[in-house]
């Protein structure tokens, strides 16, 4: 099997599976209980929090809230801070857990300000920031790494320019695709109102995510029923998941440079391979330094991405098609249309996403399978041959 859909999810690290099993057996107590084993569980959470803050360089000005994953973190922060009437902005190229959350404010007559026209290869063009001041935008929501394209919104210049051009606008970044793949500059935290993470994108278990947010902000809880986690997210904490989450973050950050180098090698090899194919391939990801090496998005018109995906599946090669959450939607990807692709180009796209587990040999096999399947499928997709 060749698994090239790591932006959807990653296989769990065997070391983490073993740790999780141990933690599930040993740390079963409720971390809110006052007896010894409860306190032990609470201590484990404190240790995990410490591990995460150290690994990511998160300052004491920021709180950590464990959630069920990236989608919940995004919902909790955006709704908790801005619902129902605070003014917000986005580039419309974010994951649906951001775009649809913001669009849900429409029912209160609160329309999110779109910066779609200011995108350049899927990144926000910073020249638009003064508009946020004019519009009195309270929160700007962006992806750190775009989930379909892999393009990076670099927070360092963004934060600095935002401070200058629209100081009242806070910044929220979805970091789900960034962690472990690109360097997270520790200097960014003071400029970030919120940041979300998820364990299963970095070889951890599904069902655990994190929201890092500026503790001066008041978030309205979206789940009620307990005083856990600063009263912002009620519910018994999943101690074993938190313990291994800390471990995956630690491993991901320790290995980040090495991983990035490896991903870059794969990325370059794939893009070069795609360019050498004897049919036209449109690379939708960007080619500059602000491209996360874990993702390559490309189109192979007229062959539809979904059909190609299933032909590759027959060879046990698994690739992505747009955002995994909307893979069943018949509409072409909004992100790809948003960066200016035609409907056909968007429908004919595939997303290849690597992890540190992939190697060059797998890329070569993928390219070979893509080439063979394209040749088989091309005639089926050529229009205008049927009415004779």
């Amino acid at each position: 099997m060749i698994y090239l859909d790591n932006a959807a999810t990653t296989p769990m690290d065997p070391e983490i599976i073993a740790s999780l099993q141990d933690c599930m057996r040993d740390q079963f107590a409720n971390s809110g209980a006052v007896y010894g084993i409860g306190l032990d569980a609470k201590n484990k959470i404190d240790e995990a929090t410490e591990t995460i803050t150290t690994a990511l360089g998160i300052p004491s000005s920021h709180n950590l809230i464990f959630t069920s994953g990236g989608t919940e973190s995004n919902n909790l922060f955006i709704k908790g801070l801005c619902s129902p009437d605070k003014k917000t902005a986005y580039s419309e190229l974010e994951h649906p857990s951001i775009t649809e959350t913001l669009q849900s404010f429409r029912e209160f007559g609160n329309e999110t300000f779109s910066l779609l026209e200011f995108n350049k290869e899927g990144r926000l063009d910073l020249s638009c920031l003064p508009l946020l001041k004019q519009r009195r935008i309270r929160l700007l929501c962006l992806s750190h790494v775009n989930n379909e394209l892999g393009t990076i919104n670099d927070p360092v210049p963004l934060i600095s320019k935002l401070k200058n051009d629209a100081p009242q606008t806070r910044l929220f970044l979805d970091g789900v695709q960034a962690i472990g793949k690109i360097k997270i500059d520790k200097s960014i935290w003071p400029g970030l109102a919120g940041y979300s993470l998820s364990a299963h994108k970095i070889h951890g278990p599904k069902g655990i995510g994190l929201l890092v947010y500026d503790s001066r902000l008041t978030l309205n809880p979206q789940l009620h029923g307990g005083k856990q986690q600063f009263g912002v997210r009620a519910g018994t904490l999943p101690v074993p998941l938190i313990m291994v989450f800390a471990k995956v973050i630690e491993l991901a950050t320790e290995r980040q440079q090495e991983t990035e180098k490896h991903l870059l090698k794969l990325h370059t090899h794939l893009v070069e391979g795609l360019r050498k194919l004897d049919f036209p391939v449109l690379i939708n990801s960007s080619s500059d330094d602000f491209q996360c090496p874990s993702i390559v998005n490309f189109s192979i018109p007229p062959v539809e991405g979904e059909v190609m995906l299933h032909h590759l599946e027959k060879q046990e090669i698994y690739v992505g098609m747009g955002s995994a959450c909307s893979a069943h939607s018949k509409e072409p990807s909004k992100i790809l249309l948003g960066i200016g692709l035609t409907e056909e180009q968007a429908r004919c796209s595939l997303r290849i996403s690597f992890s540190r587990n992939n190697n060059i040999d797998e890329i070569d096999k993928f390219l070979q399978a893509l080439k063979s399947a394209y040749q088989v499928l091309l005639s089926t997709f050529i229009k205008g041959t049927s009415d004779r």
Partner: protein, 395 residues
């Protein structure tokens, strides 16, 4: 109260059958036995017009629930077999009725007797009177009154040659004919809402329905295949012993897509599906095809297009939904519990094979001309060779 119960099963149209009645009864009994666990201590009796099951009170409710999914049963009741002793029957009635009476309010009841053992000395009205008056003598001071028309509680007594059963509840069954009594048919199953309903309706007409699915992999994912496994399993729950044939259809679709007139594609695909289904049905001795078509629902289901697919086979074609509107079909699908699976978002045909504007009145001569443009016979044989056969009971 006794720890034994008797489930008294009434059946539907079998009651109307003439000399074949025994055959229908035997088939229904076989289906009932097959769907109940093979516990020791379950006894079956078949007095005229009834099937009775004697079993432990502990399992009576659970096992009787399974009868709700067996075509051919019109209703059933859980009762107690006892001696035809009026005092004992009345005592049981009191035991059941007394807790239902609210102090200070009137409670209406009646007794209904069916006496098939004509040797029994009293007539039905006399038995009603004997048992009813004994119950009244105890409970009328508490508010019990006799009211046949607006009865809140009906104590029923059946006195037959194989024993007397007293009961007070009636659960509805699916009615129709017992599965297997009409023979085998083959249903063209898609992942949609209609075809599972059509299959179920034919099962209720005594058919054992087998399924054929035309698979689009790898143009589509395995989602459609998985969905059909689930749907065939649900429908098979009403009958058992179904086969599911999965026919790889992508090469035929590619050939039609590449060689034939675009607007005719859908009808041409369907003509091939009918031909392949007919071959399978013939091979497995299933003298009929079943489809979920409903007149005018989509372009391929106009009178002309239905005629254009029907004429490729000499086999019986049953379309039980032909005159039912979509809402009615959805209602059925919800009742038989296929609806939630049918609406799972899995594409059932890859968009690359769909024409922009399909023909609504296909002309057979033109369709035949199209079919000369691709090697249909060879592709059909190839598809049949690569067909997968699944025993649905094992899913």
């Amino acid at each position: 109260m006794s720890d034994q119960r008797t489930i008294l099963i009434r059946y539907d149209e079998i009651g109307l059958k003439g000399r074949n009645r025994k055959y229908f009864e035997k088939t229904l009994l076989k289906n009932i036995k097959r769907s109940l666990p093979k516990d020791k201590g379950i006894e079956y009796r078949v007095p005229r017009g009834r099937i009775m099951i004697d079993l432990s009170a502990a399992v009576a409710d659970e096992y009787s629930d399974r009868l709700k999914r067996i075509p051919g049963i019109s209703s059933y009741s859980i009762g107690i077999t006892m001696d035809p002793d009026f005092d004992e029957m009345a005592a049981l009635g009191v035991q059941w009725i007394e807790p239902l009476i609210q102090p200070g309010t009137e409670f209406k009841f009646c007794v209904k007797t069916r006496r098939s053992a004509k040797t029994f000395p009293q007539t039905s009205p006399e038995i009603n009177f004997e048992v009813g008056s004994r119950i009244m003598s105890q409970l009328s001071p508490k508010g019990l009154v006799v009211n046949i028309k607006e009865s809140q509680f009906t104590l029923e007594i059946e006195i037959g040659n194989s024993g007397t059963v007293v009961f007070h509840n009636r659960e509805m069954g699916l009615c129709g004919l017992p599965v297997g009594s009409s023979g085998n048919v083959l249903c063209l199953l898609s992942g949609g809402i209609d075809s599972p309903v059509a299959a179920y309706m034919m099962a209720c007409r005594g058919c054992r329905v087998h399924f054929v699915f035309f698979d689009n992999q790898p143009f589509l994912g395995r989602g459609g295949y998985d969905k059909v496994l689930k749907l065939s399993k649900i429908v098979n729950g009403y009958q058992g012993r179904a086969k599911l044939f999965v026919v790889p259809f992508q090469d035929i679709q590619v050939a039609i897509r590449d060689s034939c007139r675009e607007e005719n594609r859908v009808v041409l695909y369907r003509r091939m599906m009918y031909r392949i289904a007919s071959e399978i049905a013939t091979q497995y001795e299933m003298p009929g095809l079943v489809t979920g078509e409903s007149l005018g629902q989509v372009a391929s289901q106009t009178l002309e297009n239905l005629a254009a697919v029907t004429c490729v086979t000499s086999m019986n074609i049953f379309r039980p939904l032909i005159a039912i509107n979509k809402e009615g079909i959805i209602k059925h699908a919800k009742e038989i519990e296929t609806y939630d699976v049918s609406i799972e978002p899995q594409p059932d045909c890859c968009s690359v094979f769909m024409p922009d504007s399909p023909v609504t009145r296909g002309k057979i001569s033109i369709l035949e001309n199209d079919e000369e443009r691709y090697p249909g016979e060879a592709l059909k044989e190839e598809a049949l060779r690569n067909m997968e056969t699944i025993n649905v009971d094992r899913l």
